[in-house]
Symmetry: none
Subunit: 155 residues, 2 copies
DNA sequence: TTTTTATTTGACTTTTTTTGACCATTCTGC
DNA sequence: GCAGAATGGTCAAAAAAAGTCAAATAAAAA
């Protein structure tokens, strides 16, 4: 008998396959009810099976009417991109490094000139200095989010 | 099922779109009746979905025959863009407020969907939480930079 | 068997929405 | 002008989600 966590994982993945969608919206409470388990079990599944590095991205809303959405990132022919995400995860990035990194994305037409300028303006040194010593960690996290978003966008 | 607040928001926006007007006049009591809810629910919707920084302005009159009018603001030239920049300068912005603000820029085609997603991913709550106390100030600064860049790019 | 890792659970926290009791303003008929 | 009716506004409490974290179990590895 497989574990509860694995069964929930399968249930969600099957659901996406069946609907042929790369995104599903669910209610934590409902899902917990389907499997008669505590709601926090769902968080465990999300944390262990649907991480960014695993090719999924989760967004959620609390409060009345709250829910969460799991987005499958298309990484089949984007092996490199997935590796990049893992590389950037939990790391730090200086402004110079980020500049070089984004410059390469621009050269390779992964982003266009407007996107490049927007992103650069947001990871600006003076601006992020407000974050104190977390500056470089924050910049890396932001770049990681950019990569995930780029993956989400191209389909 | 979406929340009552979201349905009321949609109802009002659809109404404006349908009439192709950038302003509608409504009676709080009537609207509450349409959705069978307490009148103060309408105030909640106005406060969370139709704030100035979200591109709408609300004026109202109390007393017998009272009502309120929602006016949709538009960013049509540099002048208005510059006003936005000064409004954001030195301020703080929560994630939700930023979401509304950027949603408005998207609605008005000041930014496109890709830019919207990129910017949103970078001002993400969890990500900026690394900045601790400065989270909201940092977010406002980042958005200000975005606006300046858009102005320079001649959006 | 012992140690380590993975899963399950529940008490407590945070966020967002919904509701209602009480307050303020304006108009109308005297 | 004043009383009363007809509106809209405020604010705080309750309700409806989702998130966190650490303790308890279970499973796997050594």
């Amino acid at each position: 008998m497989s574990t509860l966590a694995s069964r929930i994982e399968r249930y969600i993945k099957d659901m996406m396959d069946a609907a042929d969608l790369n995104s599903v919206e669910l209610k934590r409470k409902d899902l917990a009810e389907v499997f008669s388990c505590v709601p926090s079990q769902i968080n465990y599944v999300l944390e262990t099976r649907f991480r960014d590095e695993q090719g999924y991205h989760v967004v959620s809303r609390r409060g009345a009417g709250g829910c969460f959405r799991i987005i499958r990132l298309e990484v089949t022919d984007d092996r490199e991109m997935k590796d990049l995400i893992s590389a950037v995860s939990g790391s730090e990035m200086s402004y110079r490094t980020a500049e070089g990194f984004l410059g390469r994305l621009l050269e390779e037409s992964v982003i266009d000139r407007g996107e490049y300028m927007l992103i650069m303006s947001m990871i600006d040194k003076d601006t992020l200095a407000a974050a104190g010593e977390s500056e470089d960690r924050l910049r890396a996290a932001m770049i990681k989010n950019v990569l995930i978003t780029l993956l989400r966008m191209d389909y």
